[in-house]
C-alpha cells in the first residue's frame, strides 16, 4: 500500500516532463520493472541532470563512441535506446532504469547468499536511489537525521498513547521538524551540499521512517540496530553501483546481455539451496 502511495506522490510532484520520459523509457526498454520504478527513476534523473549536466554529456558520449550495425536480435535494445536519446530522453534515466534490476538482484543475493536480512527489497533499493540523488555522504547524514528523528519521535509519542494513524502523523511531524532544522542549520555551518538537496530524496527518507519505527517496535533493540545497519550497507553498495561510471557504461552499451545476466542471477539466487555465508559462520563450531 505504502509503496504505491509513495510512487503516486512522486508522480504527482514530478513535473510533467517525467510522464513523457517514463513513457518513452517503457517503450524503448522492454523491462520487467514496474511503472512505479520508472517514475522513481525519472524523478531521480531530474536531480542528477539538473545539477550535473556533465553526466549527461558523458553517457551520451559513450553511445556515440560505439558503432552498432544493422538492427538484429543482438542489438534491438541498443537501437531503441539511441533512437530515444536522439529524441530527447535522458541517457541518465535509461541507465538508472537498466541498473535498478541489478541493485534489486544484489539485494536479493545479499539475503540469500550472504544472509543479510534488512528490510525486504523495497527499503534498501529506495534508499540507494535516494543516495544517488543526494550523494552518499549527504545521504548518510540525512539518513542519520531521519533515523534519529524517528527513534526520538517514537519515544515521545509512546507516552501519549495515541491511535496508530495520528501517532504516525505526529511522528512524521517531528521528523519533518528535525529535517527542517537540519536544512536551515546546514546553511550556517557551511554544509552547502546538504541544503542543496532536493525534496524527493528527503521525502523518500521521511516516508521510510515509518519502516524504521516499525522495526524498532517489533524487534529487540539489538535486532533493530542490526537490521538498520544491514539495510544501510546494502543501500550504500547499491548507490555506489548506480553511480559507478564503468558499470553505467557497461549496461548502457550492452543492455541486452546485462539484462539477461541480471535475470539469470535472480534465477540462480532463487534456486540456491546451500548455506548462506552468515549461516556458515553460525554453524562453524559443529563442522569437524
Amino acid at each position: 500500500m505504502k509503496r504505491i502511495a509513495i510512487i503516486f506522490l512522486l508522480l504527482f510532484l514530478a513535473p510533467t516532463a517525467v510522464g513523457a520520459a517514463a513513457a518513452e523509457a517503457t517503450a524503448s526498454a522492454e523491462m520487467a520493472t514496474s511503472a512505479g520504478t520508472l517514475s522513481i527513476e525519472a524523478v531521480t534523473k531530474q536531480d542528477i541532470t539538473e545539477r550535473t549536466s556533465a553526466v549527461k554529456g558523458r553517457l551520451e558520449g559513450y553511445l556515440d563512441e560505439k558503432e552498432i550495425g544493422k538492427l538484429s536480435w543482438l542489438n534491438f535494445l541498443q537501437q531503441a535506446i539511441r533512437q530515444a536519446v536522439d529524441k530527447g530522453v535522458s541517457a541518465n534515466t535509461i541507465v538508472l532504469v537498466l541498473l535498478f534490476p541489478l541493485v534489486a538482484g544484489l539485494i536479493a543475493a545479499a539475503r540469500h547468499l550472504i544472509g543479510l536480512t534488512g528490510f525486504g527489497i523495497f527499503v534498501p533499493a529506495m534508499l540507494s536511489v535516494a543516495f544517488v540523488a543526494t550523494g552518499i555522504k549527504v545521504g548518510i547524514i540525512m539518513f542519520a537525521v531521519v533515523f534519529l528523528g524517528a527513534s526520538l519521535a517514537r519515544k515521545v509519542t509512546e507516552r501519549l498513547k495515541l491511535q496508530y494513524l495520528p501517532r504516525m502523523a505526529l511522528m512524521m511531524w517531528l521528523v519533518s521538524a528535525l529535517v527542517l532544522a537540519v536544512l536551515l542549520g546546514a546553511v550556517n555551518i557551511n554544509l552547502g551540499s546538504l541544503s542543496a538537496v532536493s525534496i524527493f530524496p528527503i521525502l523518500i527518507l521521511m516516508l521510510l521512517s515509518e519502516n524504521f519505527i516499525e522495526v524498532q517496535t517489533g524487534k529487540s533493540r539489538h535486532e533493530a540496530v542490526q537490521v538498520m545497519i544491514q539495510t544501510l550497507v546494502m543501500a550504500i553498495i547499491g548507490a555506489v553501483i548506480l553511480k559507478t561510471n564503468w558499470v553505467q557504461k557497461l549496461v548502457l552499451l550492452n543492455p541486452e546481455i546485462s539484462l539477461l545476466v541480471m535475470a539469470l542471477l535472480d534465477i540462480y539466487v532463487g534456486r540456491y539451496t546451500g548455506l548462506r555465508a552468515l549461516e556458515m559462520w553460525k554453524f562453524r563450531k559443529i563442522i569437524k
Binding site: H112, G115, G218, R271, Y272, T273, G274, L275, R276, E279, M280, K282, F283, K285, I286, I287, K288
Partner: protein, 443 residues
C-alpha cells in the same frame, strides 16, 4: 564428521522442505494456537486444557476472572517467539489477585489490560488484531526443576515424513525471563533420539556444560516418557497435516492417588517453520538426516519412531545404538564391581518376577560388599525357618555394558548355579528375549 553440505540452511529449509511438504492448511493451523488446539482436541491428543477464548473486547469486560484457578497462562493465538505469554503462578493474598512467575502482583485489571493488548495485536505478526485465550499451566516436571528457572521446559521434536528426526530440550533461564526461546537466552540441549537422554547443550550459539542459574550438569538427563513424547509428536504432525514441522511438547507432572509421580506429555504448539539452531544443540546437520529419510514409505507411527531411533541415535552406547532397548536373555553374565572398583564376571539370572536384585552371601563377602559401611539397611522377612534378618547392600554392576547402581538383598544361593538374580527394579530399558536353549533349561 559434519560437513557444510550436511547442515540445513534457511534457503534449503524454505525451498526444499517447508514449501514442498507443508500444505497451506497445515501452515494456517500451525500459525494459530487456537486452531492447533481445536485440531488436537478432535484428534483426542493431549494439550493443556483451554479455559476461555477472548475474541473481542466485550467478552473481556464480561468475563468473571475470579472463577479462574490459581494457576493459569494467558496467551495470544498468533504470538511471535513466545511474546505476550503471561504465566500466573499462584493466587494472591486476596480474591481477585494473583502472582506471576516473576513475582509481580496481578489484579483483575492487569489481566484485562494484558488481554486487551493481545486483542489489539501488540504481540501478533504485523500488528494484526489477534485472539487471546487462557489455558491450564503446565508445571515444571520435578526432573527439570534443578535445571530450569521460572518457566516450563519443553521438548521440541522435529518430525519429517512421520519420522522424528531431531529433538532438543529447551530450558528457560533467568536471562530468558522464564521463556523457552533460544534467542532470548534459554539453554537448548541436544537429545539422543534413541533414548531421550540429553547430549550437548548450547546457549545462544556457544556450548555450555552447566545450567547457568544452578550450575547443574546438562548432559545425561533422561527425558521422562520419551517413547510417548515421540509418539505424540508424530501423531500431532499427522493430525495437523504438516510433513515437516517441530512439535513442542511439555510434560505435565501430577501425583496419582497412590502418591506416585506420573507425567503426561502435552502439545504446547506446532511450528511449521522450525528454527535451525536445533542443529547447534545436537552438533549434527539436519539436511543430511532429512535427505536420509525423505521419501521413505512409513506405514505406521510406530515404524516411523523406530526408524528415527535407529538412524539418529547420538550416543556410542549399545543401548542407544539398538534403538533405546537392550536385548537380553534369561541367563546373562554380569560384571560386578568389588569394593576396590574392579570388575568381576559373574553368572546371573534375569527374573522380572522378582522386585529386588539379590546376591549370594558368600559372593558378597568375597567381593567385600558386606563391609558395614556398604550395608544400606537390614530387612526382616518371614520364611519357613521363622523370622530372618537379611542385609541389603549397595552393588554396582554392568549388564550389556550398561552401568547399574542398585541395592541388592543378600541371600544364601550357595547351592544354586547362579549366585545373582537381576530383578525388575534394575531392568528398565531392557527387553528380555528368551533365547533358544534357555527355554528348556531349568536353572
Amino acid at each position: 564428521m559434519t560437513k557444510f553440505s550436511d547442515i540445513l540452511g534457511m534457503n534449503a529449509r524454505n525451498h526444499l522442505y517447508q514449501s514442498k511438504y507443508n500444505s497451506r492448511k497445515g501452515k494456517r493451523a500451525a500459525d494459530s494456537k487456537l486452531l492447533t488446539k481445536s485440531i488436537l482436541r478432535k484428534a483426542k491428543l493431549p494439550a493443556p486444557k483451554l479455559y476461555r477464548i477472548f475474541k473481542n473486547e466485550r467478552v473481556v469486560e464480561r468475563f468473571d476472572f475470579t472463577n479462574l484457578p490459581d494457576s493459569f497462562v494467558i496467551k495470544p493465538s498468533q504470538g511471535l517467539g513466545g511474546e505476550g505469554i503471561l504465566v500466573v503462578d499462584r493466587g494472591g493474598e486476596f480474591a481477585g489477585e494473583w502472582v506471576s512467575v516473576d513475582g509481580n502482583k496481578l489484579t483483575v485489571n492487569d489481566l484485562r489490560l494484558h488481554i486487551l493488548d493481545i486483542l489489539a495485536g501488540k504481540y501478533s505478526m504485523l500488528d494484526l488484531p489477534d485472539k487471546a485465550f487462557i489455558e491450564e499451566r503446565v508445571r515444571v516436571h520435578p526432573r527439570f526443576e534443578p535445571i530450569s528457572c521460572q518457566g516450563t521446559p519443553d521438548v521440541g521434536v522435529l518430525v519429517f515424513n512421520k519420522i522424528p528426526v531431531m529433538a532438543f530440550l529447551r530450558l528457560p533461564t533467568k536471562e530468558s525471563h522464564g521463556k523457552a526461546n533460544m534467542f532470548q537466552g534459554a539453554v537448548a540441549c541436544g537429545v539422543d533420539m534413541a533414548t531421550g537422554v540429553t547430549t550437548k547443550a548450547v546457549k545462544y550459539t556457544s556450548e555450555v556444560k552447566f545450567f547457568p542459574d544452578s550450575r547443574r550438569r546438562l548432559a545425561g538427563i533422561h527425558i521422562p516418557r520419551w517413547e510417548e513424547v515421540l509418539e505424540l509428536a508424530v501423531t500431532t504432525a499427522e493430525a495437523v497435516g504438516l510433513g515437516y514441522c517441530r512439535v513442542d511438547i511439555a510434560l505435565q507432572p501430577r501425583t496419582t492417588k497412590t502418591g506416585k509421580l506420573k507425567s503426561t506429555p502435552m502439545v504446547l504448539e506446532v511450528n511449521a517453520q522450525p528454527g535451525l539452531k536445533i542443529q547447534l544443540a545436537n552438533e549434527a546437520g539436519l539436511k543430511r538426516r532429512l535427505e536420509r529419510v525423505e521419501g521413505l514409505p512409513v506405514k505406521t507411527v510406530k515404524q516411523g519412531i523406530n526408524i528415527g531411533k535407529q538412524l539418529f541415535a547420538a550416543r556410542d552406547e549399545d543401548e542407544s545404538i539398538e534403538g533405546g532397548w537392550l536385548n537380553i536373555g534369561i541367563f546373562e553374565e554380569v560384571e560386578v564391581e568389588n569394593f576396590l572398583g574392579e570388575k568381576q564376571q559373574i553368572k546371573a539370572k534375569i527374573d522380572s518376577g522378582a522386585f529386588r536384585t539379590s546376591i549370594d552371601e558368600g559372593l558378597a563377602r568375597k567381593l567385600g560388599l558386606m563391609d558395614p559401611e556398604n550395608i544400606l539397611w537390614e530387612r526382616s522377612y518371614r520364611s519357613a525357618l521363622g523370622r530372618e534378618e537379611r542385609e541389603v547392600v549397595g552393588v554396582t554392576f554392568y549388564l550389556k555394558g550398561k552401568k547399574i547402581k542398585t541395592a541388592a538383598s543378600v541371600s544364601d544361593r550357595s547351592k544354586l548355579k547362579r549366585p545373582m538374580i537381576i530383578a525388575r527394579r534394575d531392568l528398565l530399558g531392557f527387553s528380555i528375549r528368551v533365547k533358544e536353549g534357555e527355554a528348556g533349561q531349568e536353572a
